[in-house]
């Protein structure tokens, strides 16, 4: 009996630990890169000639595909001595992580709000913050939807709606703004499942769990199981601007600056455009 209880307790303990790792996974990833950096810094001291560095980019989830698949490899070929690691999540979560002292060098946010909040707390290099990209807000439905939703006004035909949590997900803030302008946010909110990042919202719709959702044009372009039915009506939503900036605590300002310069280059911009973004010039 006693043995059985202790076994159960141990299992229980293991479980609670497993639960922890779930939420701190991204933080661990960041810690891991910190260790990497530490290792590389010591190496660097030994051989100062080849200045090898690893920088960590914290990017909004909607940037994941183009940044990880194309831009980072391109940058690393161009600057072989700089290695780029990246972590992707909702901008709000990344903001919290940077506030908590995550070892991030460059922050690519999906909205000005998070960037400004960090800047106000003097965590960003103010001069480094630039508006990089523009995105569109679109309404999506599962591929073979039979709900006949064709515009933002139609959304109340859906039983469940997937939107990002306006408290933490910029895509959710834009969705809220759009629906508020259409004066239906109150009805929408009752049916809404609030995702903690935009990819979650996309997958809920792709699986058909939710009947409709609001995401960025770029996310919509990345998934085959959904269809875009409408763009947010002109004037109903403010421009979706993706700013980028260097974190003040970063010890690799030079490499970070090179990365941001690279993002502005023609070749990088053409990649962004391929993924559905619009360059801010």
């Amino acid at each position: 009996m006693k043995k059985c209880i202790s076994v159960v307790l141990i299992i229980c303990l293991v479980f609670s630990l497993a639960g922890c790792s779930d939420k701190s996974a991204s933080k661990q990833a960041i810690d891991a890169t910190t260790n990497n950096n530490a290792a590389e810094i010591t190496e660097e001291a030994a051989a100062p000639a080849a200045k090898e560095e690893t920088i960590l980019i914290a990017a909004a989830a909607s940037l994941k595909n183009c940044v990880s698949d194309e831009l980072i490899p391109m940058f690393e070929t161009k600057y072989p001595n700089i290695k780029v690691d990246a972590t992707y999540d909702s901008s709000g979560k990344l903001q919290t992580q940077i506030e908590e002292g995550a070892d991030v060098d460059v922050f690519m946010s999906a909205a000005m709000k998070q960037m400004n909040a960090l800047d106000e707390k003097e965590l960003m290099v103010t001069d480094s913050i630039v508006k990089l990209l523009e995105n569109k807000i679109v309404l999506i439905v599962p591929k073979d939807s039979d709900k006949n939703i064709t515009s933002f006004e139609d959304i109340l035909k859906a039983d469940t709606i997937a939107v990002g949590d306006p408290e933490s997900v910029p895509a959710g803030q834009y969705a809220k703004e759009t629906f508020e302008n259409l004066k239906i946010w109150d009805q929408v909110t009752i049916k809404s499942s609030l995702g903690t990042n935009v990819t979650e919202v996309l997958n809920w719709v792709a699986e058909g769990s939710a009947d409709a959702g609001v995401v960025y044009a770029t996310d919509a372009a990345s998934n085959e199981n959904i269809q875009v039915v409408a763009e947010a009506p002109e004037g109903s939503v403010s421009k979706v601007i993706y700013p980028v900036g260097i974190v003040k605590a970063s010890e690799k300002q030079e490499s970070a600056k090179l990365f941001i310069e690279f993002l502005h280059s023609e070749e990088a911009m053409s990649v962004f455009e391929k993924y559905g973004f619009i360059a801010v010039r």
Binding site: V8, E167, S168
Partner: protein, 231 residues
């Protein structure tokens, strides 16, 4: 503070523990009574799986079964117009699946510890297997079974990963305590999270105290039977 996540979590955990408790008992009875060891190992592995798998993987499998584009989910939607995903039922299903192994393991452990001679004695006296189970095994194993039930309840209350995948995060409908905490923290609203976290801490403490209480009772009982054996 918004109380709806607590009510939803409480309702979910309460219904799920009722289901888990009985299904867990019957499953453990079935496995304990198995003749073939090989079969027992396989079935035991399958039943314990949700305990060791990440909850997101459990959610993934539930989605594969019940998602509206999957055979069973599609059937339920088209013929019975029941949509399981993103409903309150989905939170219960997630809680049941994830908390089941704790109940099953505890109950199985408790049943296996029951003194075989008592069961054999009962058989010689012509008692049916069913009444042996309910009138001899169950009372002896009760402390272990009860503590398993308490643990499963706590596990169901804390279920997050699978719930987020199949039930979503709909306020007043499927937003359970863990999801509410997650959303608040994601939004950087630590103050909002404190209240929920306090509730979880209190409930967990009460649950562990209850567990200890059952363990203590169990120990007394073991001593008593030991004394009997010495006689």
């Amino acid at each position: 503070m918004d109380w709806s996540p607590m009510l939803i979590s409480l309702k979910t955990a309460s219904l799920s523990i009722i289901i888990t408790f009985f299904v867990g008992i019957f499953a453990s009875r079935w496995v304990v009574g198995m003749k073939s060891d090989k079969l027992r190992i396989i079935i035991d592995g399958v039943l314990t799986m949700p305990l060791v798998l990440p909850p997101t993987v459990v959610g993934f499998f539930i989605l594969l079964i019940l998602g509206v584009k999957r055979p069973i989910g599609k059937f339920l939607l088209e013929f019975l117009s029941v949509k399981i995903v993103f409903s309150w039922t989905a939170t219960v299903i997630a809680a049941v699946v994830v908390s089941f192994p704790l109940m099953y393991r505890s109950a199985r452990g408790a049943f296996e510890q029951v003194d075989k001679t008592l069961i054999m004695a009962a058989r010689t006296l012509g008692m049916s297997e069913r009444s042996i189970f309910w009138r001899i095994m169950m009372p002896i194993a009760l402390p272990g079974v009860a503590s398993g039930g308490v643990l499963s309840f706590a596990r169901g209350l804390g279920e997050f990963g699978a719930t987020a995948m199949i039930a979503g995060n709909i306020a007043n409908k499927t937003r359970t305590l863990p999801l509410a905490i997650y959303s608040e923290v994601a939004a950087g609203n630590m103050e909002g999270a404190y209240g929920y976290v306090a509730v979880v801490l209190i409930v967990s403490f009460v649950v562990l105290s209850l567990m200890n209480y059952f363990t203590l009772k169990g120990r007394k009982y073991t001593k008593y039977t030991n004394k009997d054996e010495v006689k």
